[in-house]
Symmetry: C2
Subunit: 379 residues, 2 copies
Amino acid sequence: MFEFEILAEAPGGARAGVFHTPHGDVPTPAFMPVGTRGTVKALAVSDLRASRVEIVLANTYHLYLRPGADVVREAGGIARFSGWNGPTLTDSGGFQVVSLAKLREIDENGVTFRSHLDGSAHTFTPESVVRSQRSLGPDIMMPLDVPPVPGSDDRAIADANRLTIEWAKRAVQELERTEGTSSTGQPQALFGIAQGGFDPGARAESVAALVELDLPGYAAGGLSLGEDKEATRAMLQITLDGLPRDRPRYLMGMGWPEDIVDAVSRGVDLFDCVLPTRNARNGQAITANGPVNLRLERHARDFGPLDPSCDCETCAGYTRAYLRHLHKSGEILGARLISLHNVHHYLKLVRTLRESLLAGQFDEVRTGILCRHGEESAR
Amino acid sequence: MFEFEILAEAPGGARAGVFHTPHGDVPTPAFMPVGTRGTVKALAVSDLRASRVEIVLANTYHLYLRPGADVVREAGGIARFSGWNGPTLTDSGGFQVVSLAKLREIDENGVTFRSHLDGSAHTFTPESVVRSQRSLGPDIMMPLDVPPVPGSDDRAIADANRLTIEWAKRAVQELERTEGTSSTGQPQALFGIAQGGFDPGARAESVAALVELDLPGYAAGGLSLGEDKEATRAMLQITLDGLPRDRPRYLMGMGWPEDIVDAVSRGVDLFDCVLPTRNARNGQAITANGPVNLRLERHARDFGPLDPSCDCETCAGYTRAYLRHLHKSGEILGARLISLHNVHHYLKLVRTLRESLLAGQFDEVRTGILCRHGEESAR
């Protein structure tokens, strides 16, 4: 279980593979739609299946607060609770505590915060977060980490790094101690999260210390927080250079299609991002030719499909003019149909990259994708 | 075209039939889900097809204001604009002007009002509303009418009746004058709307005057405005008694499943109501055993389906506990899945009634439905 097979590689580090999980095999590179509260916003399981989604992400922080990890445990884990019944990964809540919760306080033991829902006080420790994820029952769990606040000085980054590694070790111990207690009755893998801010040395140190733990997979955390793309890519490359090639690599929280293409070409295997669903709710579709802003007046009488090259339910059955009308009217169906298309587009993107790797045509396919993305906005 | 065939009848007036329209045959009794702004809220065309919806309602008032009747005309009519591509009916806007618009003023010519969207001033006349519906292109259009304000005195009801009939005549003339101008290139039928408030004499008069116009179908308007059920049913019966038996009868804006069963047993053929979709968004499911309020704590750990007797996507794939979680979290998927179930339930209800009429078992089936509806709330 949790075996990672590499099936094809390209110069530069890109690879196509399969990650075996108790809930099913995940072909990589894979994009995980974000189901924060146990639902990929506006989409049903039937939509995820139609777009050939292979693995879904959920958030420990949100599910712990509502409906509560115990309710999800009673349901038999997040995959059953949500009706998805396939592979899942849960984020640890480290990032959400920093970005959403109020009055947080970090000490050696863990992080104390107030819920963004009702202001109630809670403490997450590396151990409690593993136990919550035993209840949530994902195939892959993430350890509680300490993402340095953007703009931190060297000292603060070093402190965050030290805690992140200490907490990863405590998470590994708690994982061993709680073996056999998953709500699904299945084994669970714990990945590591590399931090280190935007300091090359601190990044490399974080990765090196993490790799000593010999984990079944590793993630690059703390990227895509508003920094420029060059900084992101430099830090990502340092992270990847320090990781063993035989474990899956997960780039957390990114990004635009061109970011995914770039990261795949460097050897990233797993992605998640709210962009396709969040931007959909703001009226933005992501197409093979670039982003389409349906709020623009020029789409009011555009009776063509969102993306003529797309075979999703939205592009097959609805026009830009209608989608614009739905969005402008605040109709739920607008968020749904655009989300459906965007997720479909992301899934097709990673599948296309994977197939090109298997066929030994990665470079040509990558160039073709990057050239087309951007045509729409240039119109 | 617009032929109405009666295939089976039961004592008391219930009948099963087929109404032929340019966009397809509508088996009756039929329930029309409400697609106010050109979308049955939260549902896609694929959902409507899966629930075997046969005809959808939209609102002239809303579509006139946004995206504008001209945009819908350019799309080829509301059936094409919305991707539904099946039979449609549009309400005239008479009820919406009274209930939604601001500062309305009615005179002999028509009604002047301010948009609830932006306060802009507009005038609807019987003629302009027919022309708008030529652009919207429904199979069935409704004339601009004057629903008397609840609590009106005899004089006000008589005035509203007189205008409703005058305007129906003007609508018929405008329909003839504009023949061949539908955005779909297909013929359109104009139904009549009987009003008369809750005065038996005024109701009967309104119906009698309307029937003289020899229209292809008739509606009972101005019911289900908060009055008690006995009053509704008495007025409905007076309306039906005055209508020719060979034309389809449409009860506007109703209601609960038991109201529909009652009205079918009196000989109503067409229904529309926002209840299944509006109540869904408020967390209320309508099941074979009665309403289920998912906001109640008792569903928090209820891992059974919404309605064990239902074969919809929601009941097949999701639990009450999950639906409650979605609703409490304000997730779009909650509104979608409960709406999907509720519409499915209403469609199954009218199909069951129709099949029982065709099989000569209406009375037994009606009794069975009415006995089950109410079990859930009694628990």
